[in-house]
């Protein structure tokens, strides 16, 4: 094997806990053979945390499932290579030996704890089962151990929680239970497959901190699979970067993050919106999309998307070249030259998009908007309460600007977007648009108004009708609002498809023939087809891989510049919001707690919630490594229910600076600095005297008089 000669990594004397050599896992389907994992070699030593990073379809999860021999067969099969765990050959194990391996020696934590926990058994039963099975504990001993484990992972009142069923716990608590279950048998290796991807950023911070601490105290090795480079930076000692079923770069986290040596890794960093970079830095997407692994490209699998590709890349696949101790890269640029004969084209990320300080004409004015959903019970549908999803928000959207609306799940940001568009009727409040209150329009007026406001959805799969062609989907708004007739409709559709970067000749195709990123472009084409003035973009990139995400972000910015659009950009990803928004509003439990221009909110956050959110975002910065950053504020607990929101300030139950006034008096959104308003008593001269000393750094400004926020 030629690769073997250049891999310098396997030279350490101590035998690794897990050794994977030339692993090949293929799936045999009607569409051909999908080489999901193709010749993957790596080691994992005891107590080490190995990050496996890559986009969807890169083979990272299949690698993990292969290690546990959990590949569904058919259609999948491990057709080559070897896996040695703790000296034993995993591929030749009998089913009895495998049962002992799984759960006892190797445990796994999955992305979505709601689907990986069995809904009909209590948490306790599920934690006790492996203990009784593998460790032969009695049910009494197992129960004690389970209680201890739940306490260990930070579940409050663990003895009672044992009896809880998965649906009775919050997402963060379920993930903690999952971790308790995984660690209960004290496994030597813990495989975590995107364990925090489904969680909010403040909960993610809790879980990552917990996992790191447990990993250190139990001394287990960990294989951490994620698409998020920031999480890798925080958690891992070493990193495998995977692309198209292969490892393309291997090294320590410091090596990979301070001097990556592979064009794909460079691409990943360049296309990532960064929370520490100001707005206006244009992302550099990786062109195209990941290859279809049933028909992989010749030569280097990355060459069709690689800006550095030369002739050799197209015909011959590079081996992993030795860069420095423990650092290898699969790229011809590094052939024979440890330092790299060529260097990454640097500094391509420049601020090209200038935000016009231009005259700010308000086009949309939202005042005290509320949306309460009634909760009904019984046959007679009696109303027993309200979910106060949006509870009195006010903001202004100016022409040509992007207003970012951020917050954790359940804060009401999506509902707010839909109420503004009158896709939901507001409970009270007004939305002034061109001198008309959208909340009061009748059906006919509203239908006419719809061409001036549009929406882009999160999920590129459920937002397009599978039974209609792309041309019919994009053409419908044009026909409906009589913007063109007859053959002209087709021409308009072709123009629009071209504008969003799709091939106009594909208008006759159905949505399922497109990839996720392309489908999102179709959704954008539909939204701009009727020439709207403002668009509510509801998490438009959060379902996409980072390289595709950058393409879509750039597209949205180009369209904004060319068409003079205004966006309300709803997202939970603070980095993305930073890179696209002119102004940012932070929502918590149906209220806006802080609103201001991008720089103000990100560089000088006022509200304790904003500060905590921003500090919880895992950064890719080299000096931001490790979990114990002193500046990090980890919020405790979960977001309370919007049915009975806490009294006074809604954030007071989680706020590190809470004082008496916060529990009884609701803070109002007050402009503290011009264009930057916050709802917090720390900044109110009438109450701030009661604040704890720890809040001193926040109270450095002279308190201003209350004024309505803009």
């Amino acid at each position: 094997m030629r690769d073997g000669s250049v891999i310098a990594d396997i030279q350490s004397e101590d035998t690794p806990l897990l050794r994977v050599e030339n692993l090949q896992t293929h799936f045999f389907g009607e569409g051909g053979v999908v080489r999901a994992v193709d010749d993957v070699t790596f080691d994992l030593r005891a107590g080490e945390v190995l990050g496996v990073v890559g986009e969807s379809g890169s083979g990272k999860s299949v690698t993990a499932l292969s290690v546990m021999r959990l590949i569904d067969s058919p259609p999948g099969r491990i057709i080559g290579g070897s896996i040695t765990f703790d000296g034993d050959d995993v591929l030749s194990m009998t089913s009895n030996e495998l049962r002992n391996l799984r759960g006892n020696q190797i445990a796994m934590i999955f992305q979505e704890p709601l689907t990986s926990l069995n809904p009909v058994f209590s948490i306790g039963d599920q934690i006790m089962e492996p203990l009784m099975l593998h460790q032969k504990l009695s049910s009494k001993e197992a129960r004690d151990r389970a209680t201890e484990m739940l306490a260990r992972v930070g579940v409050p009142s663990p003895a009672e929680r044992l009896k809880a069923y998965p649906h009775q716990l919050s997402g963060g608590m379920r993930q903690r239970a999952m971790i308790a279950m995984a660690l209960s048998c004290n496994p030597k290796l813990l495989i975590a497959d995107e364990p925090t991807t489904a969680l909010d950023v403040s909960i993610q911070a809790q879980i990552l901190e917990l996992m790191k601490e447990l990993q250190e105290s139990y001394g287990s090795a960990m294989m951490f699979i994620t698409h998020d480079l920031g999480v890798v930076n925080q958690m891992c000692d070493r990193v495998n970067v995977m692309y198209a079923g292969r490892i393309v770069e291997q090294g320590t986290t410091a090596q990979i993050f301070s001097s990556p040596k592979n064009p794909y890794t460079w691409g990943l960093f360049d296309c990532l919106p960064r929370i520490d970079e100001p707005q206006g830095i244009r992302l550099i997407p990786i062109a195209g999309q990941p290859p279809n692994l049933a028909r992989p490209p010749s030569g280097c699998k990355f060459h069709p998307r690689c800006p550095y590709a030369f002739e050799r890349c197209r015909v011959e696949e590079p081996p992993l070249f030795h860069i420095s101790d423990g650092h290898t890269s699969r790229c011809w640029l590094y052939e024979g030259a440890a330092d790299g004969a060529r260097h990454r084209i640097e500094a391509r990320r420049v601020g090209e998009i200038q935000t016009q300080p231009a005259p700010r004409t308000p086009i949309l004015e939202v005042t005290d908007l509320r949306k309460h959903f009634p909760i009904t019970r019984g046959v007679l549908q009696r109303t027993v309460g309200y979910v106060k999803a949006v509870d009195g928000i006010s903001f202004t959207l100016h022409k040509g600007e992007t207003l970012g609306l951020v917050g954790e799940s359940g804060c009401g940001k999506s509902t707010a977007g839909r109420v503004v568009l009158r896709l939901l009727d507001p409970t009270s409040g007004s939305v002034m648009f061109h001198g008309q209150d959208l909340a009061k329009l009748d059906a006919k007026q509203l239908q006419d108004m719809r061409k001036r406001m549009q929406i882009i959805f999160q999920d590129p799969f459920s937002s397009l009708n599978p039974r209609r062609t792309v041309g019919s989907i994009v053409g419908q708004p044009i026909q409906l609002h009589k913007l063109a007739e007859g053959k002209e409709v087709g021409e308009r559709v072709a123009d629009i498809l071209e504008r969003v970067g799709l091939n106009p000749s594909h208008a006759g195709r159905y949505p399922h023939e497109f990839s996720g990123g392309q489908r999102q472009r179709i959704g954008i084409a539909r939204a701009i087809a009727a020439n709207p003035e403002f668009i509510v973009a509801d998490e438009p990139v959060s379902a996409l891989d980072v390289s595709i995400q950058a393409q879509i972000v750039n597209l949205l910015q180009d369209l904004q510049r060319d068409l003079g659009l205004s966006y309300i950009f709803i997202a939970h990803d603070l980095s993305v919001v930073r890179s696209v928004s002119d102004r940012v509003a932070v929502m918590y439990l149906g209220k806006i707690v802080e609103i201001g221009d991008n720089r103000g909110v990100y560089e000088d956050p006022l509200h304790p919630y904003t500060r905590a959110l921003l500090s919880a975002v895992p950064s890719v910065g080299v000096d931001e490594r490790g979990i114990g950053r002193s500046s990090r504020i980890v919020l405790q607990g979960d977001v309370p229910s919007p049915i009975n929101p806490p009294s006074g300030c809604r954030f007071h139950t989680r706020c590190p600076y809470v004082f008496d006034t916060c529990r009884s008096v609701e803070p109002l959104l007050t402009e503290l600095v011009p264009g930057h308003a916050v709802a917090c008593h720390l900044y109110d001269s009438r109450y701030a005297g009661g604040a704890p000393d720890s809040a001193e750094p926040l109270r450095r400004r002279p308190p201003t008089v209350e004024a309505p926020a803009g």
Binding site: G29, E30, G31, P75, R282, A287, G288, Q289, N292, P304, R305, E352, R418, L421, L423, L446, Q447, D448, R450, K451, Q454, I455, F457, Q458, D459, S462, S463, L464, N465, P466, R467, R468, Q476, P477, L480, H481, G501, L502, N503, R509, Y510, H512, E513, S515, Q518, G523, R526, A529, A530, Q551, N554, L555, D558, R561, D562
Partner: protein
């Protein structure tokens, strides 16, 4: 990067993404259906049955109602022979011809009743599912009440006051079977109404009929087609039961059900197995093949069953 450069880059992206055309929905459907050998065989059998039933005067060797007392001496059914492959009944009527004409009755009742119940059920289900609230409550409660009726008793009562013809039988069966379709369509509509593409249609200002006919109905077609293919055999069985019990198609018109009526006596008294076995076999085969077809359609139309 200028706008032009950006556009060029996007076009390059497209050049990369030019994949060979993917299969259309119906091609995909056909590929999946074709793999279901039992369903494919059933479809072929049923097509043949349609042809024979439609061309009954051509295919039937005799007049189905012509008695031949020479053939059935002393009311003793004639056994199968070269001239009468399925034998005759106690009046000397050719069984093969009666089975062929009987197929017409079964298929007409099956399709008419199912067709009516699908149309009625889809309309009520769609209205209930789209409008929701009180309309939904009202329609679904009516459906619940009708479902609580014992179906055969209802048919006996109704048929004793009407003169049973193929049409009345079909319509009466439709009256007691549309509710299941309505429930199915309502459920589909509730799910599809919450889909983002339906919301997108509302966001561009589409009208209710446009949403129903362009977004919701086309996406409910799969389950409706499956319900139809499984509804037909159930209807055929109901008609057979009614005719067997004397409430359905009246003699001398041949139906598979009323052919079975006298069969027990003939089998007991004369050992004339052919009087009962052939119509019974046809009923069983037809019902079975429709059910296989329904299974095949369900698998092929379910978007979750991927071919790979």
């Amino acid at each position: 990067m200028s706008a032009d450069a950006a556009a060029t880059q996007l076009r390059d992206v497209n050049a990369l993404e030019a994949e060979p055309p993917v299969l259309g929905q119906w091609a995909l459907f056909w590929r999946r259906f074709r793999r279901h050998k039992l369903a494919l065989g059933s479809a072929i059998f049923l097509i043949l049955l349609f042809i024979v039933a439609a061309g009954a005067p051509i295919f039937a060797p005799y007049n189905p109602n012509k008695t031949d007392l020479q053939l059935a001496r002393f009311g003793r059914p004639a056994p199968p022979s070269w001239s009468h492959p399925m034998g005759s009944d106690n009046l000397g009527r050719d069984q093969l011809s009666r089975v062929i004409y009987g197929a017409r009755v079964s298929l007409v009742v099956g399709f008419l009743a199912t067709g009516v119940s699908i149309v009625v059920g889809t309309i009520f289900g769609a209205v209930a599912g789209y409008l929701g609230k009180w309309t939904d409550m009202a329609i679904m409660r009516v459906a619940d009440v009708l479902l609580a009726f014992p179906p055969l008793l209802f048919l006996f009562a109704a048929l004793s006051s009407f003169r049973p013809s193929i049409t009345t039988i079909a319509l009466l069966i439709a009256v007691i079977s549309w509710m299941n379709v309505a429930r199915l369509v309502r459920g589909e509509f509730l799910v599809l109404r919450a889909k983002e593409y339906t919301e997108a249609a509302r966001a561009i200002g589409a009208s209710a009929p446009s949403i129903i006919f362009r977004e919701l109905l086309p996406n409910s077609l799969g389950p409706i087609i499956v319900a139809a293919s499984l509804g037909i055999p159930a209807t055929i069985l109901t008609e057979t039961t009614l005719s067997f019990l004397g409430f359905g198609i009246q003699p001398p018109t041949a139906s598979w059900g009323n052919m079975l009526q006298g069969a027990f006596g003939e089998m007991r008294d004369y050992g004339a197995w052919w009087v009962g076995v052939f119509p019974g076999l046809m009923i069983a085969l037809t019902v079975l093949t429709f059910n296989f077809l329904g299974d095949g359609l369900r698998d092929a139309l379910d978007p979750r069953s991927r071919i790979d």
